[in-house]
């Protein structure tokens, strides 16, 4: 017996209506399809990346909080066995997960995002997002001295990369997906969209364009909106009243910049020295490295400094409100450098953004308090020095000068301290650059055997310009308005074989000696040069353009005019293939002394 339902013959009117609806829908979609070119589609996609990253970061933060509450309790306890046991045991679990389940999550999320952009065509495995979520959540929640920002950045980048791959967007766009997601993740973690955008542009992408900026901004803003809708718009810290009253106090902030620069160098050198040593130890030791780091942190907490556990935002808040004496602040800064160095080099997943802010905050508070003891006339509050100190370490350790300034401004919402922040950050950045030439992210990449473009080096690199290869204005310049006869006689005294021709009313062309001789022989002497020369648009260059831009033309044209930007008829000089290549050759000889 058949169980099939009897076939019902639909009425003809309802069938017609359904078909009409489907057709209307198809027409609508086909029209909409025309609206979405790749650029528009990519920008809309960036908003979705921001939304998904924001949702993921909200969950990540809840996971960290929940882990912390479950493992360490809501109240800070000193002299408790849990301070030792929890980070150590969690460290073993994290090590097992990192070694066996999520091997790709070791290292910095910033570098993995850069690798995706420059090496892996935008590919970051989705497993990385899951691994970072679980392992970093467990590590930070159990008290390891690391921050949630770097994992958030990588979770965002991972989600974006996975989405891009699923949607099979072009390779060029797919490469950009990871940085776009990274900006969203970082913005959500810091609740600071401007700093996140600047960081990704400054440290990951390294170049500005309307398209890149638009996509990164859209994703960052979308993620921040999501995070704020769930977790509120309160800043990471309650900002005390800060003020900058007397310009002479900039000296005090400069001193803070110098101390911060030295601390940044010490921190970076400690990480750079210990990381390869620990990585080079036998594999079985890697099961215990995070646990030993956890034990060390537990010991420090047990001895009376539980503030160094986790990201430490609560303690930064207390420091900002003058809850610690300068001695305690200085001790906390030193202990946090030690704790974070060991947490990070042990391979525990987690970021260094929050610890950097912590160290800067404590150092800033300590230096500020000492300065005020020595010079009671200083008016800056402890909170002001703590805020400036955060920027100082950000500039010196992470080497992102622009982001460091905006980070402080965005977090504090106070533009009065912009001058102290800029002054202190500049000192810190310069000292760090001179004592530690390789930035921390580049150092970590090189330790991992990857060569990624160093954006700081790019920024500092000397750019060859057209004026560097420019030859003087030739003695003989022909006029297209003159007759061939006159031009032919003009070139008789010249040794050159190619001549620039000034066109009317504007523009340039080239004539060779052979061409002029041929026109003359063919009896075209009574004609203007313009009428006989082949029509071609000779490009012109400006002296300040990159010499690379001349390379596009030197094979096609033997002589290229270099004109003034204010008056394109005014000739500044010329470049030829030989002059351009000679310049590149001489630069190469300087770069590689052995070739000289």
């Amino acid at each position: 017996m058949s169980n099939r339902a009897p076939i019902v013959n639909p009425s003809s009117s309802s069938s017609t209506q359904t078909v009409a609806r489907v057709r209307a829908s198809r027409r609508l979609f086909s029209k909409l399809d025309g609206v979405f070119n790749e650029e528009v589609f990519f920008l809309i996609l960036c908003v979705f990346i921001g939304i998904f990253s924001g949702l993921a970061v909200v969950c990540f933060r809840l996971a960290i909080d929940w882990t912390h509450l479950a493992l360490l309790g809501p109240l800070p306890e000193t002299h408790s066995w849990r301070l030792f046991a929890i980070p150590s045991l969690a460290g073993i679990v994290v090590a097992i997960l990192v070694l066996h389940v999520f091997p790709g999550i070791r290292g910095s999320g910033v570098n993995q995002t850069k690798s995706a952009l420059y090496i892996f065509n935008g590919f970051i495995p989705f497993r990385t997002a899951i691994g970072k979520f679980i392992c970093a959540g467990l590590a930070i929640g159990s008290g390891q001295s690391l921050g949630p920002e770097d994992p958030s950045l990588q979770i965002g980048a991972s989600i974006a990369s996975a989405l891009g791959r699923q949607l099979e967007i072009s390779r060029e766009k797919l490469r950009l997906m990871a940085p776009v997601g990274a900006a969203a993740g970082l913005a959500a973690a810091f609740n600071a969209p401007i700093s996140a955008v600047l960081f990704v542009i400054e440290e990951v992408i390294g170049r500005w364009s309307a398209g890149i900026l638009g996509s990164v901004v859209l994703s960052a803003v979308a993620s921040v909106v999501i995070v704020r809708s769930f977790l509120g718009s309160e800043p990471l810290f309650r900002i005390p009243i800060t003020a900058f009253k007397r310009p002479s106090e900039l000296l005090a902030y400069a001193v803070l910049g110098i101390v911060g620069g030295l601390a940044s160098v010490a921190f970076a050198k400690a990480v750079g020295y210990l990381r390869p040593i620990l990585k080079g130890l036998p594999r079985w030791t890697q099961y215990f490295q995070p646990a030993l780091a956890g034990l060390l942190i537990g010991l420090i907490a047990f001895l009376g400094f539980p503030q160094i556990m986790g990201a430490g935002y609560g303690s930064m808040d207390e420091a900002m409100h003058g809850q610690y004496e300068w001695k305690v602040l200085a001790i906390l800064a030193v202990l946090k450098i030690i704790a974070t160095t060991f947490s990070f080099v042990s391979g525990t997943p987690g970021g260094m953004f929050a610890p950097t802010l912590f160290i800067g905050a404590m150092l800033g508070g300590a230096v500020g308090d000492i300065e005020r003891i020595l010079f009671p006339q200083l008016t800056g509050s402890t909170g002001t020095y703590v805020l400036v100190g955060m920027g100082v370490l950000f500039a010196g350790f992470l080497r992102v000068p622009m982001t460091s300034v905006f980070m402080v401004l965005e977090v504090s919402g106070n533009y009065e301290i912009v001058v102290p922040v800029i002054v202190a950050n500049t000192f810190s950045y310069l000292i760090s650059r001179s004592l530690q030439p390789i930035p921390i992210f580049d150092m970590l990449t090189r330790q991992d055997g990857l060569i990624l473009p160093s954006l700081e080096e790019d920024r500092e690199e000397t750019i060859l310009r057209v004026e560097d290869a420019m030859l003087p204005v030739p003695d003989t310049i022909l006029s297209a308005q003159d007759y061939v006869d006159a031009n032919f006689h003009r070139v008789q005294d010249s040794a050159d074989s190619t001549f620039l021709v000034r066109m009317h009313p504007s523009g340039w062309n080239i004539a060779t000696r052979e061409q002029l001789q041929r026109f003359y022989r063919e009896g075209k002497g009574e004609l203007t040069l313009a009428s006989v020369l082949p029509v071609q648009s000779l490009p012109s260059l400006y002296p300040d353009l990159s010499l690379d831009s001349a390379l596009r033309y030197v094979n096609d044209y033997s002589l290229i005019p270099v004109v003034n930007r204010a008056d394109s008829r005014r000739l500044e000089g010329v470049v030829s293939r030989d002059s351009v290549f000679q310049k590149y050759g001489s630069e190469r000889a300087i770069e590689v002394p052995g070739n000289a």
Binding site: F36, L55, C59, L62, L167, E168, E234, I239, H321
Partner: protein
């Protein structure tokens, strides 16, 4: 872990966006659910920690209380009650370093709800701790005119009373007087409230205002012993000894244990008996009182000179001592007593009593506050001076 969505739908941009929108909406809903569950748990934990903090405050364990309130606030960051209580505890923990943090919490609350009277009151107390009259007055006023959760009139008066006490402590008499006038106008018909106001008026040395408040109390509760004592004492300080005598006598009768009123009554009786300028006394009685006053002044001067080791008859005294000069004036005034009966000498009582008053004032300055009749004469002199001014 390579994963791929099955290609169930054609890869058209609108369809992709539709799918992404659905995914975003679903994700949003799921995270909303998760966050609300988490928040509920956190709020419950926050309540427990808050209760623990309150218990710590009750036993003055401020450090533990602050830690508990901080943790409660971490669990429920938007709870203004936790924030306010933490700020109050930081303020009251007697650690000057915590005052900044308390103020920061309160300012954050104030920015969210500038009309909240409790927050303004807490900020006023922080400003009062810092000794800033301007800020404290501003925040106290905000509290008075702000929104109270319950019993607004009583709370407003309490805030004003606190402001007055602060201003008096900081010696800011003029603003305190203004606030006292405003307070007197806004008090409910309650003997306790008016008695408190009378006390504040008295602290501000506005004895007329204090007396008026005590009289309001006596109208509300005629037998109120505290008001009777207050009115008597205030009238005494004000210099209205007849009124003081009446109230103090009633106070002493109403509360026989009130030794202060009894002492003041004795002093008042003495003043009234010794005052030669009292109306409704005969000339003979006036002359008798002047005679007695001059004799008492001599006794006081002699004793004070002995106490200060000054020989009234010697010329070798320190040049700064005014006592020998007073002795000389007394000797000059003594014979004038006989002329008091003469109707032509109308200025003589004033002149003799002027010598008495100078002796009493100077000996009080040199040898300390006097007792009994000397005190009465001193107070009469002060009242006389005030009347002259």
């Amino acid at each position: 872990m390579r994963w791929k969505l099955p290609k169930l739908v054609p890869r058209s941009a609108p369809i992709i966006l539709l799918v992404l929108t659905l995914a975003a909406v679903s994700g949003f809903a799921a995270v909303s659910h998760l966050v609300s569950r988490y928040n509920l748990n956190q709020q419950a934990r926050g309540r427990r920690l808050y209760a623990q903090g309150l218990a710590d405050v009750a036993t003055k364990r401020y450090d533990d209380a602050i830690a508990a309130f901080r943790a409660a606030l971490t669990c429920d960051p938007t709870n203004p009650q936790y924030e306010l209580t933490l700020a109050r505890t930081l303020r009251d923990s007697n650690d000057p370093r915590r005052l900044d943090e308390a103020e920061s919490y309160l300012l954050a609350l104030w920015q969210r709800a500038p009309q909240d009277a409790a927050v303004n009151l807490a900020l006023a107390r922080v400003a009062a701790r810092r000794g800033s009259i301007e800020d404290a007055t501003r925040y106290f006023h905000n509290a008075m005119y702000g929104v109270w959760a319950s019993d607004p009139d009583a709370n407003r008066n309490r805030a004003r009373i606190e402001l007055i006490e602060f201003l008096l402590k900081r010696n800011a008499r003029a603003p305190a007087d203004s606030e006292l006038i405003a307070l007197a106008a806004s008090l409910p018909a309650s003997p306790a409230a008016h008695l408190q106001a009378a006390h504040l008026f008295e602290q501000a040395q506005d004895y007329a205002g204090a007396l008026a408040q005590c009289e309001v109390v006596l109208r509300l509760d005629p037998g109120n012993a505290a008001a009777l004592a207050g009115a008597g004492e205030t009238a005494y300080r004000f210099g209205d000894y007849v009124l003081a005598q009446r109230y103090l006598r009633m106070a002493a009768n109403a509360n026989p244990e009130d030794s202060v009123s009894r002492q003041l009554l004795e002093s008042t009786d003495l003043i009234l008996r010794a005052n030669p300028f009292h109306s409704h006394i005969s000339d003979a009685e006036r002359n008798r009182r002047i005679d007695a006053a001059l004799a008492q002044a001599e006794v006081r001067l002699t004793r004070c000179a002995q106490q200060a080791h000054v020989d009234l008859n010697s010329t070798a005294n320190p040049p700064a001592s005014p006592l020998p000069g007073l002795q000389a004036r007394w000797l000059l005034a003594k014979p004038d007593l006989k002329l008091l009966r003469s109707p032509a000498e109308t200025d003589l009582p004033d002149a003799i009593m002027d010598v008495v008053f100078q002796i009493e004032q100077q000996t009080a300055a040199t040898c300390g506050p006097p007792q009994t009749l000397d005190l009465a004469l001193l107070l009469i002199s002060r009242k006389r001076e005030t009347a002259t001014q």
